[in-house]
Amino acid sequence: MSQTRRTLFYERHKALGAKMMEFGGWDMPLAYPSGAVKEHLATRKDAGLFDVSHMGRFLIRGRGASAFLQHVLTNDAQALDSGPIGAQYTIIANETGGAVDDAYLYRFVEGEYLLVVNAANRRKDWEHLRAHLAGFDKVELIDLTGERVMLALQGPKSSGLLEEIVDSGPLPAPVRNAVSIVTIGEARIWVGRTGYTGEPVCFELFAKRQDGLSLWDILLEKGASPAGLGARDTLRLEAGLPLYGHELGRDLEGREIPVPAVRMTRSAVSFSPLKKDFIGRAALEKQFAALDKIIANDFSSRSDLPHLIRPIALTGRGVARRGAGVFKGGRQIGTVTSGTMVPYWVFDDRGPRSRPTDRHKLRPICLALVESDIGQGQAVHIGIRGRAVDAVVVDRHLRSDLPPYARPVLR
C-alpha cells in the first residue's frame, strides 16, 4: 500500500484524541472523542471546524486561464470576474456528460483561479486538466495542495466567531459563494462563504502553511468544535449534497451517472455562449433537455436521463445503507447511494424565528438513484435485510433558507 499523507493538522488531531482513518490517500480524523453525532449537532447549533486540507487545490493563472476554465469546467468561470460572488460549484465533465470530478472554483485575486477538487481524484483531475492544456496559450497550472491549508468553519456561530478574530478586511458579503481576503494577526486569509454541510452560515478558509496552526488554534479557542469526516458525511447527506463515487461518477453497477441526475449540479452547468464548445456540452445539453421534460411530466426523452438522485425519508424502522434496493409495487426501481441515521435538533416551533431546543433525535434518511419518472411524494419501500421498510421520496431533508439555522425537514 502506498503511504498515506498527513495534513499540517495531523498532530493536532492526535492530541485531541481523534480516531483516524485513511481517506483519499490521506490520514484524516473520522471523529474526535465526542463522536460524529455530537459533532454534527454542534455544527448545526454552534460552529464546527473541519480540516479539509486533504482536498486537492490547483491554482490556474495566466492570460489564457479564463478561456481554459471555460473549456474544461461546466460552469461559467467568467461570472466570477466581477461582483462579490467569487466562488461557484462546477463540474469537470467528460465528453459523455458524466463527471470526472465535482469541484469548487474560487477567484480571490484578479487573474488567478483556485480549483478545489476531491482528494481521491486529485491525480486523475491533474492529468485530465494537463491533457487539455494543449491549445491554450499562457495558462499556468500549479498544484498548491501541499503549501496552502484549507479549513471549513460551518454553523450559525461561525460568523460571529470570525468577526472576533479578524484584524482587517471585511468578511465576505452574507450570501453564499461571496469571497474576501482578511488578515488575522500577520496572516492573510482567503475566505469564501462556501461549505459542504448545508449550513446557511458557512466559511472555508485558505491560509499559507506557516499560518495554518495558529488559525486552527484560535478558532478552537474561540469555541468552534472540531468535527471529523464522519460528521462531514452525515451533514452533507442531510443537505442532499453529492459525494463523488456515490452520487457522481459511476453507480454501483458501473454505469456513468449523468451530471444533471444530481439536483445540486444543475446550478453548476452553464450554456452561456461565452463558454463556446466546452467538454461535454453536447451530451449535457441533451441530458438537460430530457430533465426539463421530466420536470414537466413528459417522459419521452427519458432514455437520455433514465435515473435521478432523489432524497428519500424512511417512515418505517430501519437504516438504509448504500446498495439497498428501492422498490415500488414489488419492482426494484432504484438503489440507495448513501444512507444512514442522522441526528437533528428538535425546534421549538415551525416558523422562521424558531430556535433549536436542547433535545435531539435521530432519523433514517438516504439519497438514492431511482428511475426518473419516480417523483416527489411517491411511496416506496427500501429492502433492508429481507424486510420492505416504508419510505417516501421527498423534496429535501434539510432547509437552509432561514438563517442562521439549517432546519430538518421531517416526515
Binding site: 460524529a36 430501519g318 445503507r321 441515521m341 435521530l362
Partner: protein
Amino acid sequence: MDLPEDLKYSKEHEWAKVEDESVVVGITDYAQESLGEIVYVELPDEGSPVTRSEAFGVVESTKAVSDLYAPVSGTVTQVNDALLDNPELINEDPYEDGWMIQIAASDLSELDKLLSAAEYAKFLEEEKAREEE
C-alpha cells in the same frame, strides 16, 4: 474496560444477568466500544421465542451493523423500548440503562456454557492476540 463480576458473558459479546429463570441481556462494554456510536437498534416483540447463539435483533452504529445473539434460549418477557428513541444509552451505560431484553429461559443448563467475567476477559485477550497476528 468495565466487566461486572455478577454477570455472565457470551463469546458474541453479550452479557446476561441471571435471576432464577429470568435472564436480562445486553451487549458488553467491549462490544459498544468497538461498534462506536450506536444510532439504531432493532429488538424482538414481547412473547417472541429466541434461540441460543441465534440472532434476536440488530444494532447499528455510525460505522457498522451487527447482529445481536441470544445467550440462552427462551421467550422474550420484556423489551427495553427506551433504546428505540435513545440508542446512545447502550454506549453510555451498557450494563444498566442499555439493557436490551429479558428472557424467560427454557433450558437453564445453557447458562453453564456462558463465561464468567474472568473467563470473558481472558477470551478478549486471546481475540486481541489473534487479531494482532
